[in-house]
């Protein structure tokens, strides 16, 4: 395993105004330390040769998160994976893309397995070994919800990272509890009176996690890698149950161009549909502000799963999605006041 210790103060290295500021992975003009993903020595926890589709957001999010966790623990890390794309594309027997101890059991029990791993290390007195559980939105917010809630409620010393791509992609894009209103999936076809997924369904798992009063909850987005890194670092500095939900576009399931993964994620961020915030012990402690200009139109336009909302007669769907973004902007006070 890697032995080098790379402790970058990702979020502290603020370099606004210098060419790209803190928006790019690195800023060559910064005299302070930069982000881990720009370092030649990053561990590449998820190695080349994995079988994720071209432009996979989840593969990218997982590498960013686990690289950071490896950095903060000097490699003393065990990763427990739920069933899902991430597990399937990274470990088709007999190959593994993981360069860290990694275990997979069932679809819905990653939180329970991780709890057990963490407890066993505690009993062995190896409290330096840290545990991360990870999975997609299906394995986390639907099938694994019971185990996850138990892990939260017992305040197990586990960081659970959910890579949210808003449907069951591995099995052929079926609706999950994270699928947004109007989105087309294999089980919510754009036909009939309410084309695509129904509005008024689904749930916010970060808010459910907050309701457990656990030490740390955060949302992140692959279009803001420095923020993701900072949040994983912060989570790893805390003991007890922690939850991070990373927004990761899926080119296959969303019908986006493989080159546009980051662009789509950035559009989601900038229109207010995916607010970024942190919460400690059930209280929101920080919110990432956005610039006020963008509507949901550009974000939806780049995805085929929303193509029907631009058809005549479906204007109400577009309005309903804009209303969700507007509600987020109000609820989280997202827009920077001048």
């Amino acid at each position: 395993m890697q032995s080098q210790i790379l402790h970058f103060p990702a979020k502290e290295a603020m370099i606004i105004g210098q060419q790209t500021g803190d928006r790019t992975i690195s800023n060559r003009l910064a005299d302070t330390a930069d982000s881990l993903q720009g370092a030649a020595e990053r561990s590449n926890a998820l190695d080349s040769g994995h079988r994720a589709c071209q432009g996979c957001g989840e593969a990218l999010g997982a590498r960013h998160a686990i690289d950071t966790a490896l950095d903060t623990t000097d490699g003393e890390l065990v990763v427990v994976n739920a069933t899902g794309c991430l597990e399937v594309f990274s470990t088709p027997y007999p190959q593994s893309a993981w360069r860290t101890p990694w275990i997979h059991s069932l679809f819905g029990n990653a939180a329970a397995v991780a709890s057990g791993v963490a407890q066993s290390f505690r009993i062995q007195g190896k409290e330096n070994v840290r545990v991360i559980a990870q999975g997609g939105d299906g394995g986390t917010t639907d099938i694994g919800m019971g185990c996850l809630s138990g892990m939260f409620e017992r305040n197990e010393d586990v960081l659970y990272i959910c890579y949210n791509n808003e449907a069951y992609m591995n099995t052929g894009v079926q609706r999950s509890s994270q699928t947004p209103g109007a989105a087309r999936t294999a089980t919510t076809m754009p036909v009939g009176e309410h084309p695509g997924n129904r509005f008024g369904t689904g749930k916010s798992v970060p808010k459910i996690a907050m309701a457990h009063g656990i030490p740390y909850v955060a949302t992140a987005n692959i279009a803001n890698p420095r923020d993701l890194e900072a949040k994983v670092r912060k989570a790893m500095s805390i003991r007890g149950a922690r939850y991070i939900e990373v927004f990761v576009p899926c080119p296959l399931g969303w019908g986006t161009a493989s080159c546009d993964t980051i662009k789509v994620a950035r559009q989601a961020l900038n229109c207010g549909l995916t607010p970024l915030y942190e919460a400690e012990y059930g209280e929101i402690t920080a919110v990432n502000k956005i610039a006020p200009s963008e509507t949901v139109g550009a974000y939806l336009k780049s995805q085929r799963r929303f193509a029907h909302v631009f058809k005549r007669g479906n204007e109400h769907q577009l309005e309903a999605i804009q209303a969700i973004a507007d509600a987020n902007i109000r609820a989280f006070d997202l827009v920077e006041s001048k």
Binding site: G38, D47, Q54, Q95, C259
Partner: protein
């Protein structure tokens, strides 16, 4: 594997040793391949002097002003001068004008130029003399640029200048409130310190004869456009009718320029605006500027026009001079059609005039060229080859006298280009082919990665303060502001090592080669998703179709 009583028990389907995913070469999935490119930034593309602006800005970004100066003077030996008088087409080209305003390249260049003079940075004399002698006729920006570049290449250079001092239009055409003479003098002296012979008050009447008698191997001529264009105006009056370019020269030399009272200036170019602003300063009365077209179609630079308006120059747009009378001028009103072309209306207006100055453009005195058969009577510019050579081998020309946009910056570019081609010609080498390069257009950029930053402008004296003398109207940026401006450069088309491609590759297929070395692509694993190309802020990656 476990063994019980000597028998190996191997679970079903796990007979294979686990291995790394790196055995799976996902590069075979690819149908588009990313390739790093280096494109020409629009600032460099639009600089008539051919400066590598992006390169010198990158030195300024780190506070390395000496490095920046050395990069500038590879192309332009007069940065403090050009930082003041250039009409900065680079800033019109700058992609940042599409977001939060062009980088203030010109003001940054001035800062570097001034700093070089303060610090006394000098040019290196050439290492090896070539033994070739080159004559430069005309010591204006074109001639000075050619002399400098020829000297750098090791040639022995002599400048013949008709006026008492070098500088050409810079000295006798551009008013000193735009270009203080001590700046111009210092920059000229720095060029001459490389070992260049100068003969002032020397006009050449026969180039061939001078070449023979003094043993010159090649000639660069850039005598400028000093013959004022005139139009016939009805004038039986005592009110003097003067020429703009003469007036500007005489104000500089201290001769009697003849402007008095309220000066009426006729013309819509930069010379006209200069004359009006100079007239304001020498007569103390508000001059009038007569302009046949409307303000939108004025040829003068918008900033100069605004300065003139602020200072109180009265603009009579869509007017033309009909008749000059004693103490007054009769103007005819014009009317513009939808394309801005003016037409007479037959309606007249009379305004007071102490003197009239015509600033309707200039052309070159081409007698010497005619003598050599390079031009014919009636020509008003000298045709040159792409290598700046006239029809007579060994005689090169540049500056205002050849077909071009006729700016100081173009002249500096001509001087450089001619010097390079004179060098090639003296060494019997062919003219180098122009390399076609892709322009780093705005459409190729991903500007989401550049936060909005406020622009730093050169401060200006208030109009009420500056019109009484020839003090420089504009101040300069501070060191901090110069660095800030340079850091607004988006590095269009050329990798700045922001690591976006490296950090955003889902397949770890970008290999980082270290600071200054850039990246390479591991095509064994690159699936060709194209995220690197989309997320490159400056468009340094192209996606190219794979062939089988």
């Amino acid at each position: 594997m476990t063994a019980i009583e000597g028998q190996q028990l191997i679970p079903f389907a796990t007979t294979l040793e686990p291995g790394t995913s790196r055995d799976n070469k996902t590069g075979s999935w690819r149908n588009l391949r990313p390739e790093y490119v280096q494109n020409l930034p629009p600032c460099n593309d639009s600089c008539p002097a051919g400066e590598n602006i992006q390169a010198w800005l990158s030195h300024v970004q780190r506070g390395d002003f000496h490095g920046a100066w050395q990069e500038i003077v590879k192309n332009n030996p007069l940065p403090a001068t050009m930082g003041r008088v250039c009409y900065h087409p680079c800033q019109s080209g700058c992609n940042r004008k599409m977001t939060d305003g062009s980088v203030q390249i010109n003001a940054t260049e001035k800062y570097i130029g001034d700093r070089a003079l303060e610090q006394g940075w000098q040019f290196e004399p050439p290492e090896k003399p070539t033994g070739n002698r080159v004559l430069v006729i005309g010591g204006g920006p074109g001639g000075l640029s050619a002399a400098y570049h020829l000297r750098r290449a090791g040639h022995t250079v002599t400048i013949f200048e008709g006026m008492p001092a070098l500088g050409g239009m810079l000295r006798y055409g551009i008013p000193s409130y735009r270009l203080p003479r001590e700046i111009l003098d210092a920059e000229i002296d720095r060029i001459l310190a490389m070992g260049i012979e100068v003969r002032t008050n020397t006009r050449v009447h026969d180039i061939k004869q001078v070449m023979r008698s003094e043993g010159f191997h090649a000639v660069f001529t850039a005598v400028g456009n000093w013959l004022p264009n005139r139009v016939d105006v009805v004038s039986k009056a005592k009110t003097p009718v003067l020429d703009g370019i003469d007036v500007l020269r005489k104000v500089e030399t201290g001769e009697d320029h003849g402007m008095k009272g309220s000066v009426v200036v006729w013309g819509g170019g930069n010379t006209a605006v200069d004359v009006a602003r100079v007239a304001l300063r020498v007569t103390g009365e508000r001059p009038k500027l007569i302009l046949r077209r409307d303000m939108e179609h004025m040829r003068a630079h918008p900033e100069e026009v605004q300065d003139a308006l602020d200072e109180g120059v009265q603009f009579f747009n869509l007017h033309t001079i009909h008749e000059v009378r004693d103490g007054e001028v009769v103007l005819e009103r014009m009317q513009a059609d939808d394309r801005g072309r003016p037409f007479p209306t037959g309606r007249y207006v009379t305004v007071a005039a102490g003197s009239v100055v015509m600033a309707l453009g200039q052309s070159a005195e081409l007698g010497v060229m005619e003598k050599m058969g390079i031009t014919q009577s009636g020509d008003w510019e000298v045709p040159v080859s792409p290598g700046m050579m006239t029809s007579v081998p060994g005689i090169f020309a540049g500056g205002d006298m050849v077909p071009s946009i006729r700016t100081v910056t173009a002249a500096i570019g001509h001087g450089k280009k001619a010097a390079r081609n004179i060098d090639l010609w003296l060494n019997d080498q062919p003219v180098s082919e122009r390399r076609e390069r892709t322009i780093a257009t705005f459409e190729r950029m991903n500007t989401a990665y550049y936060p909005d930053v406020e622009t730093n402008h050169r401060p200006k004296f208030e109009a009420g303060e500056r019109i009484y003398d020839f003090r420089e109207v504009k101040g300069g940026l501070t060191e901090q502001q110069a660095i800030q401006e340079a850091q607004r450069c988006m590095s269009c088309g050329n990798c700045m090592e922001c690591d976006n491609c490296y950090g955003f590759c889902p397949d770890n297929a970008i290999i980082k080669l270290g600071a200054g070395e850039g990246f390479k692509i591991d095509y064994d694993y690159c699936k060709g998703c194209g995220i690197c190309a989309t997320e490159c802020p400056l468009g340094a990656l192209d996606m190219v179709m794979e062939t089988i």
